[in-house]
Symmetry: C2
């Protein structure tokens, strides 16, 4: 059986680490990874970045954290080109001091929850895909360059997926398309790269701001009502609970590269 | 058993109908659909549009054809807003004279055949997804608006898919992502809309310009060599042969909405 992914001294990048699932992932992984590990936290919100960074350092002073204001939907090439090197410099760190590099592609948006026939605004659709797909592809490319197969003995990329990646959901076309294409991304990279593990983790329907959005903005009445009930009855999955399952999967480390593993799947 | 899709007097939209598979689809469907059917052909290339339109009319003078210069990767909202109405006006036609509306989402590009780690240019990746996903989503939305479930007894959307939609292919990340998300699109629309049939048809490895591109530009050596052999030995599938299979599927009309059917699947 493979070693746990969480036993290796790592540089661990998390996108969207300031709220909801991303925050829980950053915080809980920081409690699991060995001393000397470095977190690189990327988000648009500087104040919330400072908060989660402070929380991590308070609980684990053997862990380093650097943050960078980062907009995944930006078309600023320089932002993508420089983000990892800048963060390493800021941390006074070098790639070769780590046994492993981890990227958690968590950042994404849930919007334009219209029926497909109403998705007729070119600019709005372009903006959605730019944020949810293009930025994720380019950031991942840069991650693979900086933390290359020759520089690192081990790399791990975790895509935060969804049931929507594998199952069509009415009035969630763009979200379903983004998630299915990001699942495919983990499959392709899993075949292309050496020294890599890639995983699609679908965290279940979470008690986050996103579910509130889903319960109010989803155009399809039955899907909207389902989220309304879940929010009202507080039956959504807590982020920490879902991250526990993710941690179990990473510790077990027996998934096939590119696999789609759901919170509700057998451990 | 359901009636053949090709027995109904139709308005039939084909994107990318000037070359390769799209041309064969437009031409062969024009020979199958009933008198009075109207073809709306959309492409960037006016000269080639005129050529395929002329070919169709020469063989079937009971079929009407209108063409429109159309760039699926454009961000010009007016282009998308007006294309179908303009074409109907040009043809002197009205939606209610047709029993069925068909959209063949064939247009797409095969480019940036790099390993994922080299896909680091934000603008280039945005352009790819704009052409291959956004334009397809918005055009389809407009199709569903103009040829609505109340206006039309029957609608059909055929997405030209690929093995790459369901199977990862090294150095084809963007193509795999676009195709998997477009497959998902047919699943979602198939659930959202009334009076609709949606199909993903993977036409097999075709003897087209695209396979020449694949055989020269694919970065992965083994995939490139496979295409080189196919091109050299002329063992790729002819477009007309693949369209025959598609026609069989449409005539049989027994596929589940959103199904992914490959040229090599059992008929």
């Amino acid at each position: 059986m493979a070693d746990s992914i969480l036993q290796k001294k790592s540089v661990c990048v998390v996108t969207g680490p300031t709220r909801g699932l991303g925050r829980s992932i950053a915080y809980q992984l920081s409690k699991k990874l060995p001393d000397g590990s470095l977190f690189i936290l990327l988000s648009k919100n500087k104040a919330l970045l400072d908060e989660i960074a402070g929380l991590i350092i308070t609980h684990r002073d053997e862990i380093r954290v650097v943050t960078s204001v980062f907009d995944q939907g930006s078309s600023d090439q320089g932002q993508f080109d420089n983000v990892f090197q800048d963060c390493l410099v800021k941390a006074g760190a070098h790639v070769n001091e780590f046994e492993q590099a981890i990227l958690v592609n968590n950042a994404g948006t849930l919007e334009l929850l219209e029926l497909s026939r109403d998705l007729d605004n070119v600019n709005a659709v372009n903006v959605f895909f730019s944020t949810n797909i293009t930025g994720c592809v380019v950031l991942t490319a840069k991650f693979l360059q900086v933390f290359s197969a020759t520089a690192m003995k081990a790399r791990v990329i975790i895509n935060i997926s969804s049931l929507a990646a594998v199952s069509p959901m009415k009035s969630w076309l763009l979200y379903c398309m983004a998630k299915s294409s990001r699942d495919m991304m983990m499959k392709v990279i899993g075949e292309e790269e050496d020294n890599i593990r890639t995983l699609n983790y679908a965290p279940g329907p979470l008690a986050t701001d996103m579910s509130v959005i889903a319960s109010t903005e989803t155009k399809d009445p039955s899907l909207r009502a389902w989220f309304e009930d879940q929010v009202k009855n507080k039956t959504l999955v807590e982020c920490d609970q879902s991250v526990e399952k993710l941690i179990t999967v990473l510790e077990k480390n027996s998934f096939a590269n590119g696999a789609h593993i759901d919170y509700y799947d057998e451990a």
